[in-house]
């Protein structure tokens, strides 16, 4: 049993932290939240040069051949810095979809470009019904000669506004069960008939409404097998869920660090507020939430990275971290007092991201129900 990271993973973490501290200060995060694109092409290029885009891609596609667990270390640092932009969409959502199901030709084309920082891709799963379940997919793809024609609305699609491609999960057949008959389509984001509208969110992350109106996609753009797309989506969502937990852990740790530092500096009644028991107990509660979140996330991440069945652990992690990160940001705000309520403070970045992350890839209630099924309830 070894609950620690390897030397290489620790080095990756240090490199990532240093890079993001320099390149991604909170001022930039706030600027990008207000920016239409929501990411910095200069930073994107530098990240590609560091090998971050292709971190988990096989070397034959210009990747670094590293593991999911390695990526989790990087994602934790990304969460700590509130890294804006389509990294998660491109590398986790799209990257793993392509690695899981794409043809050799598609992998060569797409993964190589992504690894070199030349392509942004996202995955469109959810629709206005706001569920991550197969029966919630109503966007239809109907065959027409050499193409499929896609119709319907996707909602909450991350970074569709800057994506070169959108991998759209659409229904191609009404099967015996909702899991059957779903197909993954690689859609050129500039295809005629696509209307992408950026949604304004409290955290400034780029989520979009994407309306497909008779959008034509060549048959060759199917990723994986016709009608057999859902199992791929499930696997990718599993990784995405854990990856998001890792980001949330990073944000929670930063919130704790900021709050403890402030508690030591801020003097009232002739002493640092961190010398008062109420504040000390808040901090103790925060570190308990942070540490618990870490290890339940790492347990899930390790299992996923090892290719072991991790359905229970992944849902337990998301259920816990969803609520723990929120609790930590609430206490963080309480400790900071009024200054934390100002836009130019960093606390709101974490508070808002915690809330935005809570329902993403399933909220605590959704995941607790997954746990219930695993427990045989």
């Amino acid at each position: 049993m070894d609950l620690g990271f390897s030397e290489e993973q620790e080095m990756l973490r240090t490199t990532a932290r240093d890079f993001l501290t320099n390149e991604c200060p909170s001022e930039l995060v706030k600027q990008l939240a207000a920016d239409e694109k929501g990411y910095s092409p200069e930073m994107w290029k530098k990240m590609a040069e560091l090998g971050w885009m292709g971190l988990t891609f096989p070397e034959e596609y210009d990747g670094m051949g590293m593991t999911f667990l390695d990526l989790v270390v990087l994602l934790e640092e990304a969460g700590r810095a509130c890294l804006p932009g389509p990294y998660f969409s491109t590398v986790v959502l799209a990257g793993y979809t392509i690695m899981e199901a794409a043809s050799e030709e598609q992998k060569k084309e797409l993964l190589t470009k992504i690894a070199n920082g030349d392509l942004i891709v996202t995955l469109a799963v959810t629709e206005p019904s706001a569920r991550y379940e197969p029966d919630a997919i109503t966007v239809k793809a109907s065959p027409d000669k050499d193409d499929y024609v896609i119709n319907g609305t996707k909602l909450f699609v991350p970074d569709a506004n800057v994506a070169d491609y959108i991998i759209c999960v659409a229904r191609t057949k009404d099967g015996a069960s909702p899991e059957e008959g779903l197909t993954l389509f690689l859609v050129d984001a500039k295809s005629p008939g696509i209307s992408t509208t950026l949604l304004k969110t409290i955290a400034g992350d780029k989520q979009c409404e994407v309306i497909f109106e008779d959008v034509r996609v060549p048959k060759g753009n199917i990723i994986g097998k016709l009608d057999k797309g859902w199992p791929v989506v499930e696997k990718v969502l599993e990784k995405a869920t854990v990856g998001l937990c890792a980001q949330m852990v990073g944000g929670a740790q930063k919130t704790l660090d900021m709050s403890v530092e402030y508690a030591k500096e801020r003097v009232q009644f002739g002493r640092p507020i961190g010398s008062f028991q109420a504040i000390q107990h808040y901090c103790a509660n925060m570190v308990t939430d942070v540490d618990g979140s870490k290890y339940i996330t790492y347990e899930a991440a390790w299992k996923v990275s090892e290719g072991l069945t991790a359905t229970m652990e992944v849902s337990m992690a998301k259920a816990w971290v969803s609520e723990a990160y929120r609790r930590v940001t609430l206490l963080g705000h309480q400790i900071h007092g009024a200054i934390g309520f100002c836009e130019d403070h960093d606390m709101p970045l974490y508070f808002k991201r915690a809330k935005g992350s809570e329902p993403t890839f399933g909220d605590a209630d959704f995941h607790r129900e997954m746990v219930a099924k695993q427990l045989g309830l």
């Binding site: 049993m1 609950l3 620690g4 000390q280 618990g292 290890y295």
Partner: protein, 390 residues
């Protein structure tokens, strides 16, 4: 990173589990409950000793098994899961034993350690007093030199098994003029000494496991001081590198949750099982998640120790989270049992032998004993986060 156990460790767990499945059966636990005992059985303590598992954590030269931290973790996890009684040996094996190993004279080690490893002697802890709980260092029990003896006068309280212990490890004040932590000495006291009166207290569960112990000019030979005179406080803080994960709490909670899940599946309400009720599902799964988090927090402590690191705030966090967890689980259990919840063992209508009712009440003591939750949070804040102490 590796969350799995080795083949040898898994085999060891299987062995321990087989033994505990057999020895800590429902009948055995039921018998204990009949006697209003939950955590005390000299017979079981001796069986562990015979198996060579009682002092598994101790170095071999002191009669121990020299077990690794992971083996200790596995053993303690299985013990917790099976609700095995530890009261017959916990003080000796986990508290006074390690202090003796670290600070005892050769003569003291020869005299006191073997009976502990053999499971033949019960120790009680003479620490808390009516005016010294969380502020233990303010204890007032007097220890005055008189010739070759030290004469002890005072009162201890919340002394678990005081009324049936053979020996008592006791903190008393040998120098009333020194700063409070520096005037305390640590004594090994024969409970058969003249002048000792032990009076069990009735707790709210109608059980008499803890009580008062009065010392009325009790003579203790000078040779029974453990460590240096006036250094008792520091000697008693010795924890050595024995497993401090606190895994027993989440392990015990896991078993209780399994019983509640079974109950929910079997019990019908309005034509469907309780397990179909979304609110019940929510409560049970919330507990399942918390139990797993608690397990990870405990495992983290054991992992640190396995690498030779000394956990400080991490052990407090585990104790805090685990004890609070059991309170929440007791409450969730009672909510699910509804009107049946408050029924005590003995009624044919009491589910699970009234275990949840007992756990609900008993768990109140867990966030108070061994360092209150508030003290644990203080320690986490001071020593984990370096927040200032005033």
């Amino acid at each position: 990173m590796d969350f799995s156990f080795t083949t040898e460790e898994k085999d060891f767990r299987a062995q321990v589990r087989a033994f505990l499945d057999r020895e800590v059966s429902d009948e055995f636990l039921s018998d204990l409950e009949e006697q209003d005992e939950v955590d005390f059985s000299r017979e079981f303590t001796r069986k562990l000793a015979q198996k060579g598992w009682l002092a598994m954590a101790w170095p071999k030269e002191y009669g121990g098994g020299g077990a690794t931290t992971m083996e200790q973790l596995i053993f303690n996890e299985e013990m917790g899961y099976h609700h095995a009684p530890t009261g017959g040996h916990r003080q000796g094996i986990s508290l006074i034993g390690p202090c003796l190993i670290a600070h005892g004279t050769e003569e003291q080690k020869r005299k006191y350690l073997p009976p502990i490893t053999a499971g033949e002697v019960v120790w009680c802890q003479g620490f808390s007093e009516p005016n010294a709980g969380s502020d233990l260092a303010s204890l007032q029990c007097q220890a005055v030199e008189d010739g070759d003896d030290i004469v002890i006068t005072g009162q201890k309280v919340w002394t678990t098994n005081g009324h049936r212990a053979d020996w008592c490890h006791l903190l008393a004040r040998t120098d009333p003029n020194a700063p409070k932590h520096k005037g305390i000495s640590y004594f090994l006291v024969d409970m058969k000494s003249p002048g000792i009166t032990a009076r069990p207290l009735l707790n709210m569960l109608a059980s008499r496991d803890f009580g008062e112990v009065f010392f009325d000019e009790v003579r203790v030979p000078k040779g029974n001081i453990l460590g240096e005179k006036n250094r008792g406080w520091y000697v008693s803080q010795t924890t050595l590198n024995f497993e401090r994960s606190g895994i027993a709490w989440p392990a015990s909670a896991k078993r209780d949750l399994e019983l509640l899940i079974e109950y929910a599946k079997e019990t019908k309400k309005n034509g469907e099982s309780l397990a179909q009720d979304p609110l019940v599902r929510h409560k049970l799964t919330e507990m399942a998640v918390e139990i797993e988090v608690a397990r990870m927090i405990s495992y983290r402590v054991a992992w640190m120790q396995s690498r030779g690191q000394i956990p400080i705030y991490e052990a407090s966090m585990s104790e805090l989270f685990g004890s609070e967890l059991l309170k929440r689980l007791g409450d969730v259990g009672m909510q699910i049992l509804g009107l049946f919840g408050p029924l005590e063992r003995g009624s044919r209508w009491a589910p699970l032998r009234g275990r949840i009712a007992r756990d609900y009440q008993f768990s109140l003591g867990l966030t108070i004993a061994r360092g209150t939750s508030e003290i644990q949070k203080n320690i986490i804040a001071w020593r984990g986060l370096e927040l200032p102490r005033v």
